[in-house]
Symmetry: C2
Subunit: 360 residues, 2 copies
């Protein structure tokens, strides 16, 4: 039983951010392939992973629909499927860079990974059920539950659940395979919702119910937790649910304080993601943001997936400390900010920051 093993035995090579429930980080400095191998894919859990039986498992589709129904795991596997890549990033990825330190798992760079997901389009299930005319959101309910951490906390156990707007339905896959393999327990076996373009909290693991709503959802996981503040026109802060991944890039190599030979050629390597509808440009600075030059992309742009990039750095002959920064921009001109926006609290950490290296 994989779930009874300690994370260190089970997930060799992942960085431990929390042992129980398991919160493990992809070693981002090893970024190489477009798809992250399943055993290196980051794991974000709120509670102990539920172990669901494939034979007894049922998914229910209900709420504001004409014909609610229940479907077994085997029946889902027999439906027409789609396969598509999606990059999932934990909304708290990069939290360790916030000063002073904030609460929550201290993700550095690797609270992000990309997989190719195979499953049934959400739209196929909802077409069969028939959406009511006043449907406004689709709620995904999961089998994991427990006492959550962010105030205000409801009494008793709170099951995990997240909603999306009906406008987002077309993008969503109810996935049963991850990189061609059955979804591992820690990644949501038997079924994981995959919401391309949204932070990972939207891609609900251990899915049990799909429920169509006629009013915006106000559950714990999009009010107390996974929310942010935005000002209305009179500068009153409003509490909104996190969704869309914001424009971001990160340098996988070199690593902080890495020694680099003076006068050599160094292949700076990284990835960029988020943006509407994808990342169009990434620029690199080797002088702490004074000057910027474009990188070379290794992947074509596509919605909801990262683009790896590289940059041949002609390392100066002058020895000393250099600060490298990357900066991504989408086709609308939205670019990474220079500072963390406090309205995002301990989430959406996507500002540019320097990687200090030592040329010697």
């Amino acid at each position: 039983m994989s779930t009874s093993m300690a994370p260190s035995e089970q997930h060799v090579g992942l960085i431990i951010r929390e042992r129980e429930p398991v919160n493990l980080e992809y070693p981002f400095d090893q970024l190489d392939t477009f798809l992250t191998p399943n055993d290196l894919f980051y794991i974000r859990s709120h509670f102990k992973a539920p172990v669901l039986d494939r034979h007894e498992y049922k998914l229910t589709i209900g709420g504001a629909v004409g014909k609610p129904f229940t479907i077994s795991y085997e029946e889902l596997l027999a439906m027409p499927s789609v396969t598509r890549p999606a990059t999932l990033e934990c909304a708290g990825n990069g939290r360790i860079f916030l000063v002073p330190q904030v609460k929550g798992a201290q993700w550095q760079l690797g609270g992000i990974s990309t997989a190719e997901w195979t499953g049934v389009p959400l739209s196929a299930l909802l077409e069969r059920a028939g959406l009511d005319a006043n449907a406004c959101e689709v709620l995904f309910e999961a089998a994991d539950k427990g006492t959550p951490k962010e105030e205000p906390v409801p009494p008793g156990e709170t099951p995990y659940a997240r909603s999306i707007s009906v406008e987002k339905i077309a993008d969503v896959v109810i996935a049963y395979a991850m990189n061609g393999e059955e979804i591992p327990v820690d990644h949501g076996f038997p079924l994981r919702v995959v919401v391309p373009g949204h932070y990972g909290m939207a891609s609900v693991k251990w899915l049990t119910n799909i429920r169509v709503l006629t009013e915006p959802y106000k559950g714990y996981w999009q009010t107390s937790d996974y929310g942010y503040w935005a000002y209305d026109e009179n500068r009153n802060p409003m509490r909104l649910a996190l969704g869309q991944m914001q424009v971001k890039s990160a340098i996988a190599r070199p690593r902080t304080r890495e020694f680099i030979p003076a006068g050599s050629t160094y292949n700076v390597y990284g990835a960029a993601w988020g943006g509407e509808p994808y990342i169009e440009t990434v620029e690199l600075s080797t002088d702490d943001g004074k000057t910027w030059r474009p990188v070379r992309f290794l992947d074509e742009p596509q919605y909801g997936a990262w683009r790896r990039w590289e940059f041949e750095w002609a390392v100066p002959a002058d020895k000393g400390t250099y600060v490298l920064k990357s900066r991504a921009t989408d086709p609308k001109g939205t670019t990474q900010p220079e500072q963390h926006d406090k309205m995002n609290g301990t989430y959406v950490i996507h500002h540019t920051f320097g990687i200090e290296v030592v040329v010697r």
Copy 2:
């Protein structure tokens, strides 16, 4: 200047729950008249009271309306007015009875008072502005602001603001007088919204803007603070804004541990409020809830106002400790619960509880 005086000099006879900002409790054991004198009316403040100038003051009415406008204090005074009583109860009244102790001002019984309010009906102002067809809520914005206490807390200063549903408009008075006097600074001079039937947090003090909204408001004061949890049909907790005062009664006299002569006649005295649309019955128990008998009301029922009541207790000749309890019920049969509902957090404390007295 009244606001520069210490609460103890300024508000003789009120119980201090917090000195700054001033949070002062009505001495409920002195309950006597239907209307609470202004100088004994409880005070709930989140921040220092703003001191607004009557000549420079302007109220704006805007948002989803056809003809937004601004009106001065003098112009409001010249409009046709209404006068009506309303009982305001702090949503945290009775918090001191929660075990273990919770955070927040430790109100006992007197976070409640009743006044007669004179002002302009909200409906008159909104008729002049003309509500858009898709109006759904009316937001009241105030001049007081600061850093609030309940997590999650937005960055910077948060102004006080609360909304009501458009269905509630007909009840609301934009009040400039309290028991026939100009509204005191600590009660919201120059204008206080009065929302009969709702907890006090809805009756916004120091009102500056009335803004009509086309979507439910998600501001700090009805999400992080002044919210509660309710289960949806699948037992997922949803975060909702507090509103309607719940069915409640309280015993003003005797007080806890009061000595009462054996064999005497004691006039038990109290009040009841909340309920839809008013309190229909109050029962008293002198044996810790084993048996109940109806009380005699001193006030007629009316929406949004308390009803005082009394009960002639034939005190037993048997000396000892007796536990008195009161229990209110509305015409729909909704009655006070026996336990605090944890879904209400540190608010809506309206369960029955015993007052222990000593007969000797």
